[in-house]
C-alpha cells in the first residue's frame, strides 16, 4: 500500500516537473551541447569547416585578447565586488537596526536602481558621464576645475564599476536584509543582557548569522562580473575607442560571432569563460567552507 502511494507521489512529481524539464533541456542543455560541439570545429570564410578538436581551446587560453578581458574582469572583481558588498551589508545592517517608518522608504529607494533595466541605467550614466554636456562635467566647470574624462580608456573601467555598483547594491542589500530579518530576536536579547552594544551585536551575531546569504551574494557577483556585457556594449557606442571588442570575455564572444563571423571560436570562448567561472566559484566555495570549519 505504502509503495503504491510512494509511486503515485513520484509520478506526480515527474508530471509536475515535466514542463520545466522540457524547457530546461531544449533551451539550455541542447544549446549547451551544440555550442560545445561547435567549439571543436573551425569554419573559415574560404575553405569551410574542419574538425580541429581542442585547437580552439589552446588558442583561447593563449589569446591575449581573451586573457586580457579575463584579467580586466579579475581587476573588476577585486575592486568593485568588495566595495559593493560592503556597502550593501552596511545598508542592510543600518536598515535592520533602524526599523523605523523611514526605513521602508529608504529600503525602496536603495532597491529602485535594480528595478531600472540595465540598458536604461547604462544609457543614463552615459549621459551623466558626457564630456561636454554631462551634468557632472558642467558642475566641475562651474567650480572652475577640469572635469575628469570618465570615458577615457584609463577611466572607463572605474566608471563601469560605479554603474554596476549603483545597479546591484539594492539587490544584494535585499538578500542580506531578508536574512537579517530571519535571525531569532532572542539572540539580540541575550546579547543585550551580556552587555553587547549595537556594533558588537552586528559584528558578533548578525554578520555570522547571515554568512550563507553573504556567500550567496559573493558567488552571484563573481558570476555577474565575468558575464558583464550590457554595460560595456552600450558604453562602447559613446566611447568606441576606450572599449575594445574584447573588453570583457562576453563582449569578445559576441563580437567574434557577429562581427568576425567566427561562430566556432565564439563558442570556444563562451565555454572557456564558463570553465573559468566554475573554477573561481569552486575556489571561493572551498575557501569559505574551510573558514567555516575552522571557526
Amino acid at each position: 500500500m505504502a509503495t503504491t502511494a510512494a509511486r503515485r507521489q513520484r509520478t506526480a512529481a515527474y508530471i509536475l516537473l515535466a514542463p520545466f524539464l522540457v524547457i530546461f533541456v531544449t533551451m539550455l542543455v541542447v544549446p549547451l551541447i551544440y555550442s560545445g560541439y561547435l567549439s571543436l570545429f573551425a569554419t573559415r570564410l574560404v575553405g569551410g569547416e574542419t574538425f580541429v578538436f581542442l585547437d580552439n581551446y589552446v588558442r583561447a587560453f593563449t589569446d591575449p585578447r581573451f586573457l586580457g578581458g579575463l584579467l580586466r574582469m579579475v581587476q573588476f572583481l577585486l575592486i568593485q565586488v568588495p566595495i559593493m558588498l560592503a556597502l550593501a551589508l552596511f545598508l542592510a545592517l543600518a536598515l535592520d537596526s533602524g526599523r523605523t517608518a523611514a526605513s521602508k522608504t529608504a529600503r525602496l529607494s536603495i532597491f529602485i536602481p535594480y528595478a531600472v533595466p540595465g540598458v536604461v541605467a547604462t544609457l543614463m550614466w552615459g549621459f551623466l558621464y558626457g564630456n561636454d554636456f554631462g551634468p557632472i562635467a558642467q558642475i566641475f566647470r562651474q567650480i572652475g576645475w577640469d572635469s575628469p574624462d570618465f570615458l577615457s580608456p584609463t577611466n572607463v573601467l572605474g566608471s563601469m564599476m560605479n554603474i554596476v555598483t549603483w545597479e546591484f547594491i539594492g539587490y544584494n542589500m535585499i538578500i542580506m536584509y531578508a536574512a537579517l530579518r530571519s535571525i531569532p530576536t532572542e539572540l539580540y536579547e541575550a546579547a543585550e543582557i551580556d552587555g553587547a552594544g549595537r556594533i558588537r551585536t552586528a559584528w558578533s551575531i548578525k554578520i555570522p548569522a547571515i554568512r550563507p546569504a553573504i556567500f550567496l551574494t559573493v558567488i552571484f557577483s563573481i558570476i555577474g562580473t565575468f558575464q558583464l556585457f550590457n554595460e560595456p556594449s552600450l558604453l562602447s557606442r559613446i566611447a568606441p575607442n576606450a572599449i575594445s571588442s574584447s573588453f570583457t570575455p562576453n563582449l569578445y564572444a559576441y563580437s567574434l560571432a557577429f562581427v568576425n563571423r567566427d561562430i566556432n571560436y565564439a563558442a570556444t570562448i563562451a565555454f572557456a569563460l564558463g570553465l573559468v567561472i566554475m573554477i573561481i566559484s569552486l575556489v571561493v566555495q572551498l575557501a569559505s567552507r574551510k573558514k567555516e570549519s575552522a571557526s
Binding site: 573559415r44 558626457g130 580608456p153 575607442n241
Partner: protein, 449 residues
C-alpha cells in the same frame, strides 16, 4: 440578413483564397534560377502570379515606395520588415540564410557589404532580369560598386559623394570667405578658425572607418582590392595612406581638429553648438544636419572637399545603399522586379529623394532641372542638390571593398581609431590596422595579393 452561417461561409471562402495563394506561391517557387536572359513573357507571367515577397530594410517609410510597386503589380504582396540597422541587419540576414528558412527575398545592402555577400554566393545575379542598357541609368562609379564583370549583384538606391558642410558665420568670423580649395589651405584655415573663434574646423571621428576610408578614397587611394574568390588585397598602410594620416596627425597634434566619436549625443551637441565649424560628409549630410542642428538653420554652406593638388576636382563616397535579391529567394523574378522598380521607377525615386532625402545615383534624377534647382533654406538658399550632383561626377570610379567589412570597421576602432582618439601615433595605427586585417584575412583562408 447576416447570419452566422453566412459569416462562416465568407470566412471559409477567404481562407480558401489564402490557401490558393499559398499554393500558387509555392508552385511559383519552383521556377529555376535563370541562366540566360529571362524572357519578357516569363517576367510578365511571374508578375501576374500571386506571390509573397519579404523585404528587409531599415529605410524609414520604405513601405510608401513598396506601395507603388504593389499598386502596379497587385498580384504581388510585399511584407517590409525592419530587423535592425547596418551590422545588426547583416547579422540577421546571415543567420536567416544559414538557417535555410525565413530569409527575405530582397534586402537593403550597403555598397561596402556587397563583396561580403558575394563571397558566400548569397546574391542573385540580376543581369538576366534587367534590360541590356540598364546600367546607363546610373552614375558610373555607383554602378561599378554593384557590378562584377557581367554580373549585377544589386540595384543602387542612394549614394553619398563627399563635400564640406561648414558654418559660414564661423568662417566669416575667422575672416574666411569660402571653403579652402586645398588641404594645405584647409590646415591654415583650421589654425585661423581655432585662434579667432575657438571652434575646431571639423571633427575626425575615431569610430567611423567609413568616413576615414572616404577621405582615402578622395585621395585616390585604393586600400582594398577584391573581385571575388580567395584573393584579397589590403593596403591601408600604403605610403599614400600614410601621407593622409600624417596630414591629420599634424592637425590633431596642434589641437586644430576635434576627435569625438560621431553620431553620439556629444557630437550632435557639438554640431549645433558650433564646436565644429564644419563637417566633411556625404550628400546625405545636409538633411541629417537639418534634423540635428536645426537652431543653426541658414548659417550653413555646402562646398567641395579640399583637394590634395591645386586645380584638381575629385571626391570620395561615404554611405549609400542598394537593394539586392538573395539567391535563396524562391521568387527571383518578382524579387528582382521589386529591387528594380523601387530604385528606377520615376515616381519611386522622386519619393526616395523628397520623402526619405536619399541622394540619388540615378542619372534621370541627377539631370532633372527641378531636382538641381531646389534651394535649401537651411543652407541659406543654396542649391545644394546641384552642388552634390556635380561632385557626384568627380568620384573616382573604381573602388573595391574586401569581403569582411564588419571586421574592417571594428578593427579600425581598435587600431588607428584608438590612436586618433588619444592623439597618439596615427602612422603606427595604420600599420597596426594593416596587420590586424592581414591576420584576419589569412586566418579566414584568404590569399593576400
Amino acid at each position: 440578413m447576416n447570419t452566422a452561417a453566412q459569416r462562416a461561409t465568407r470566412l471559409w471562402t477567404a481562407a480558401g483564397i489564402v490557401g490558393a495563394l499559398v499554393l500558387t506561391g509555392c508552385s511559383a517557387g519552383t521556377t529555376p534560377t535563370a541562366t540566360g536572359p529571362v524572357s519578357d513573357a516569363d517576367i510578365q507571367k511571374a508578375l501576374e502570379t500571386p506571390t509573397d515577397l519579404l523585404f528587409w530594410s531599415w529605410l524609414p517609410d520604405v513601405e510608401d515606395e513598396v506601395a507603388l510597386f504593389e499598386k502596379k503589380y497587385p498580384a504581388i504582396n510585399v511584407t517590409v520588415e525592419n530587423v535592425g540597422q547596418g551590422p545588426d541587419h547583416y547579422a540577421k540576414v546571415r543567420a536567416a540564410i544559414a538557417a535555410g528558412a525565413g530569409a527575405p527575398d530582397v534586402i537593403q545592402l550597403e555598397y561596402p557589404y556587397v563583396s561580403s555577400f558575394q563571397l558566400t554566393d548569397d546574391l542573385l545575379d540580376l543581369s538576366p532580369y534587367l534590360p541590356s542598357d540598364f546600367s546607363d541609368g546610373f552614375v558610373d562609379w555607383v554602378w561599378n560598386q554593384v557590378s562584377r564583370g557581367d554580373q549585377v549583384l544589386a540595384i543602387p538606391q542612394d549614394s553619398g559623394p563627399m563635400g564640406n558642410l561648414y558654418r559660414s558665420d564661423i568662417y566669416a568670423q575667422a575672416g574666411l570667405t569660402e571653403s579652402p580649395a586645398t588641404w594645405a589651405e584647409y590646415a591654415d584655415a583650421a589654425a585661423i578658425v581655432k585662434e579667432k573663434t575657438g571652434s575646431y574646423i571639423t571633427d575626425l571621428p575615431p569610430n567611423d572607418a567609413g568616413a576615414f576610408i572616404g577621405l582615402l578614397w578622395q585621395a585616390g587611394i585604393k586600400p582594398f582590392a577584391y573581385e571575388g574568390g580567395e584573393k584579397v588585397g589590403i593596403a591601408v598602410d600604403s605610403p599614400e595612406a600614410q601621407e593622409v594620416a600624417a596630414y591629420w596627425q599634424d592637425l590633431i597634434d596642434k589641437d586644430l581638429v576635434a576627435v569625438d566619436p560621431n553620431f553620439t549625443d556629444q557630437w550632435y551637441q557639438g554640431l549645433s553648438s558650433g564646436k565644429y565649424a564644419g563637417w566633411l560628409t556625404a550628400a546625405w549630410g545636409p538633411v541629417f544636419l537639418q534634423g540635428t542642428a536645426s537652431d543653426t538653420a541658414g548659417l550653413w554652406t555646402a562646398a567641395r572637399l579640399p583637394q590634395w593638388a591645386e586645380g584638381e576636382d575629385v571626391s570620395g563616397n561615404v554611405g549609400g545603399s542598394t537593394s539586392a535579391v538573395l539567391s535563396s529567394s524562391e521568387n527571383p523574378i518578382a524579387a528582382a522586379e521589386l529591387a528594380k522598380f523601387i530604385n528606377t521607377d520615376e515616381e519611386s525615386i522622386t519619393m526616395l529623394n523628397q520623402q526619405q532625402s536619399l541622394f540619388p545615383p540615378q542619372v534621370s534624377l541627377l539631370e532633372s532641372q527641378e531636382f538641381l534647382a531646389q534651394k535649401s533654406e537651411f543652407f541659406g538658399g543654396q542649391e545644394v542638390n546641384g552642388l552634390f550632383a556635380d561632385i557626384s561626377t568627380t568620384v573616382d570610379s573604381t573602388f573595391e571593398w574586401p569581403p569582411f567589412m564588419d571586421y574592417v570597421y571594428s578593427s579600425f576602432e581598435e587600431t588607428i581609431g584608438a590612436e586618433i582618439a588619444s592623439g597618439g601615433d596615427l602612422s603606427a595605427g595604420l600599420t597596426a590596422w594593416q596587420a590586424a586585417l592581414e591576420e584576419y584575412a589569412t586566418g579566414q583562408g584568404f590569399t593576400l595579393e
